[in-house]
C-alpha cells in the first residue's frame, strides 16, 4: 500500500516528463509525415523506433536513478518520506518501480504514434515486441540502480570515492583478463555467458547497495555512501570470483582443438 503511495507520489512529482514524451512523439510524427524524397513513412518510423525505443527509456531511467534519492538527500527533502510511517524498503522499491514504469511509459509514449501510424505494428511479431520490452526493462533497471548508486557516491563528496574507483578499476581489469583468456581459447559462447553472469551479479549488488543506501544511510549521505561502497566492492569481488570460476569451468570443458592436441602430444 505504502509502496503504491510512494509510486504515485513520484509520478505526480515528475508528471512534466510525460509532456516531454508526448512532445517527442509529436516531433516524430512530423518527421514521418514530412516528405523527404527517398524514405517512406514506414522506413522513417522503423528508424525512429530502432533509434529511440531503447535509448529513450534508458536515458530516462538513468536520469531518474541519478535523482530519485540523491537529489532529495542533497536538497534535504528526503526527510519528508522518512517522517511518514513507511518502511524503508517500501520507499526504495516504490521509487524504483516508479522509475521503471516512468522510463517505459516515456519510451512508449514517444514511440507509439510513429509505431502505430507508420504501420510497424503489423510487422513486429509479438515475440519480438516482448523481447524488446524485456531488454528495455532489464536495461532500465540496471541503469537506474547504477545511477542511483553513483549519484549517492558523487553527491556525498567523501574519500570513499577512492575505494569506489579502485574497486571499479580492479573489476574492469578482471573482466578484461577473463575475456581475453576466453577469446584466446575461442570460447565466444563462454564469454557471452561470463558477461551475462557478471551483469546479473553486479545488478544484484547494485540493487542491494541502493537499498542499503536508503535503509542504513537514510538522511545521512556520507553514511549512505559508505554502505554503497562497501556493498559494491564486495559485489564486484564476488562477481569476479564467480566469473573466474565460470571461465575456469568453460576452459576446462572446451572441445579439444587440433593445435592443442599436437602440443600435448609433443610434451608427452
Amino acid at each position: 500500500m505504502s509502496t503504491l503511495a510512494v509510486f504515485r507520489r513520484e509520478w505526480i512529482g515528475r508528471r512534466n516528463t510525460f509532456l516531454l514524451a508526448l512532445g517527442l512523439g509529436c516531433i516524430y510524427l512530423v518527421m514521418i509525415s514530412t516528405d523527404s524524397g527517398t524514405q517512406t513513412p514506414r522506413d522513417k518510423a522503423t528508424l525512429i523506433l530502432l533509434g529511440t525505443s531503447l535509448l529513450l527509456p534508458w536515458a530516462v531511467a538513468a536520469l531518474f536513478g541519478a535523482t530519485m534519492v540523491g537529489r532529495e538527500l542533497e536538497e534535504r527533502r528526503f526527510g519528508f518520506l522518512l517522517n511518514q510511517p513507511i518502511r524503508l524498503g517500501e520507499i526504495f522499491f516504490g521509487k524504483v518501480a516508479a522509475g521503471l514504469a516512468m522510463a517505459m511509459a516515456f519510451g512508449l509514449l514517444a514511440c507509439l504514434p510513429s509505431f502505430l501510424l507508420g504501420g510497424l505494428w503489423r510487422q513486429l511479431p509479438l515475440l519480438e515486441a516482448g523481447r524488446l520490452l524485456g531488454v528495455g526493462l532489464a536495461g532500465c533497471l540496471v541503469l537506474l540502480l547504477l545511477f542511483h548508486a553513483v549519484s549517492i557516491q558523487l553527491r556525498s563528496r567523501s574519500l570513499w570515492l577512492v575505494l569506489d574507483l579502485a574497486a571499479w578499476t580492479a573489476f574492469g581489469w578482471g573482466i578484461r583478463a577473463l575475456t581475453m583468456k576466453l577469446i584466446s581459447a575461442g570460447a565466444f559462447d563462454g564469454m557471452l555467458r561470463l558477461w551475462l553472469l557478471l551483469l546479473v551479479v553486479v545488478a544484484l549488488g547494485l540493487g542491494l547497495a541502493g537499498y542499503l543506501a536508503v535503509a542504513e544511510g537514510r538522511a545521512d549521505l556520507q553514511r549512505g555512501h559508505r554502505w554503497v561502497s562497501a556493498t559494491l566492492a564486495i559485489s564486484l569481488g564476488v562477481a569476479l570470483l564467480l566469473g573466474w570460476a565460470q571461465s575456469a569451468w568453460v576452459l576446462g570443458h572446451l572441445p579439444a582443438r587440433p593445435g592443442i592436441h599436437a602440443g600435448t602430444a609433443r610434451v608427452r
Binding site: A5, G13, R77, G79, Q84, P85, I86, R87, R218, A219
Partner: protein, 301 residues
C-alpha cells in the same frame, strides 16, 4: 500510573554525533515527559538539527541512545512515526504536489486521519488547495506542513524551527494553532526554535545547546526562579563585589547606573543594602539565552 524514565515520550542518553573531526553532539541526555512542551534552543550550528535528525531516526548517532515512547527509534522508526508529527526546518514536500494531493498522500499512510480538521485548518490558514507546494509562500508552506503533521493526531509533535522566515502574522497563526492543539489534545511537543519570545509563553521546559553540549536542561519555572536581572540607578553603595554571592553572569555598570544578570540566590536581599533604586526582575528567556550562549557573556568589573 507511575511516571518512570521508561514512559518518557522522548529519552536521549549520552548522544554523540560526529562529522569527521567536528563533534556536532556530545553526551547529550534529556527526556521529555508526556504533555510537556520542550523548547530546544541554541545558536546556528549548535547541534539542534543533528539532534532532531537522530530523534526522528534519520541519522544514526555514533554513541548513545534515542528512544521514543520507550522504543529504539532507529529500529522502530516506521511504527513510531505513526505517533509522531513532524514539521521540518526547510519545507520538504515534493514541489509539484498540491496541498490536496499531499493531504491525500499522507492520509493514505496513517490508520487515522482527521480529514475535517485538516481541511478546516487549511481553510483557516487560507492555503490554496490546488497550487503546487513549490509555489506556495513560505508561511503557507509552514502552515501546510503543520496541518500535515497534525492530521494523524500525533502524540508527539516535533517542530524544527517552524517559524523560521515567517512574518509576524504567520508566526502568530502557527503558535495559535499549536496552543489550540495543546489545549485540545495535550500533545507532547519538542520544538527547536530561534523565536524565543514566541516560545516563552508555551514552553514548560527548556534545553539550551551550545557547541554540541546541553548547557541547560531545566523547567522554565526553575530558570525564572534561578536567574534574575537586577538594575540600579547610580549610587555609590552597590559594588560589584556585593553581587559576587549571587553568581553574576554579566555586569554592566556606568555613570547612569547598571544592570547585572545573576544566577544564584535571591537578589531581593540586596534591596536592603541598595535601597529602592534597585530593581529585581525575572529574566526573559531571550536575555537568559543571550547571556548564556552569546559572545557578550562576561563579567565586567
Amino acid at each position: 500510573m507511575i511516571i518512570t524514565q521508561a514512559t518518557a515520550v522522548v529519552d536521549c542518553g549520552n548522544l554523540g554525533v560526529r562529522y569527521g573531526r567536528l563533534q556536532a553532539l556530545e553526551q547529550v541526555s534529556f527526556s521529555v515527559e508526556p504533555g510537556q512542551v520542550y523548547a530546544l534552543l541554541g545558536r546556528n550550528g549548535s547541534g539542534k538539527t543533528s539532534l532532531i535528525r537522530c530523534l526522528l531516526g534519520h541519522q544514526k548517532p555514533q554513541t548513545g541512545r534515542v528512544d521514543l515512547f520507550g522504543q529504539k527509534v532507529w529500529s522502530s522508526r516506521r511504527a513510531l512515526m505513526q505517533r509522531v508529527g513532524v514539521v521540518s526546518e526547510e519545507p520538504d514536500a515534493p514541489p509539484l504536489m498540491t496541498p490536496r494531493q499531499l493531504l491525500k498522500f499522507c492520509a493514505s499512510l496513517y490508520p487515522h486521519w482527521d480529514e475535517t480538521g485538516s481541511d478546516e485548518r487549511l481553510r483557516r490558514f487560507r492555503v490554496p488547495l490546488e497550487t503546487p507546494f513549490g509555489k506556495l509562500s513560505r508561511g503557507q508552506k509552514a502552515q501546510l506542513s503543520l496541518t500535515l503533521a497534525l492530521g494523524p493526531g500525533p502524540e508527539l509533535l516535533v517542530l524544527d524551527d517552524p517559524t523560521l522566515g515567517l512574518d509576524a502574522v504567520a508566526r502568530r497563526e502557527v503558535y495559535d494553532e499549536l496552543l489550540c492543539e495543546l489545549a485540545e489534545r495535550g500533545t507532547t511537543v519538542l520544538i527547536a526554535t530561534h523565536d524565543l519570545a514566541g516560545i516563552e509563553g508555551i514552553a514548560d521546559r527548556v534545553g539550551i545547546l551550545q557547541g554540541g553540549r546541553l548547557l541547560v536542561d531545566a523547567s522554565l519555572e526553575e530558570l525564572k526562579a534561578r536567574y534574575h536581572k537586577v538594575s540600579w540607578a547610580p549610587f555609590p553603595g552597590l559594588q560589584a563585589s556585593d553581587l559576587a554571592p549571587y553568581g553574576p553572569l554579566r555586569i554592566r555598570a556606568g555613570g547612569l547606573g547598571g544592570e547585572a544578570v545573576l544566577s544564584r540566590g535571591d537578589p531581593r536581599e540586596l534591596l536592603g543594602a541598595a535601597g529602592p533604586d534597585l530593581r529585581v526582575q525575572a529574566l526573559p528567556l531571550e536575555e537568559l539565552f543571550v547571556t548564556l550562549v552569546g559572545s557578550e557573556s562576561e563579567v565586567a568589573p
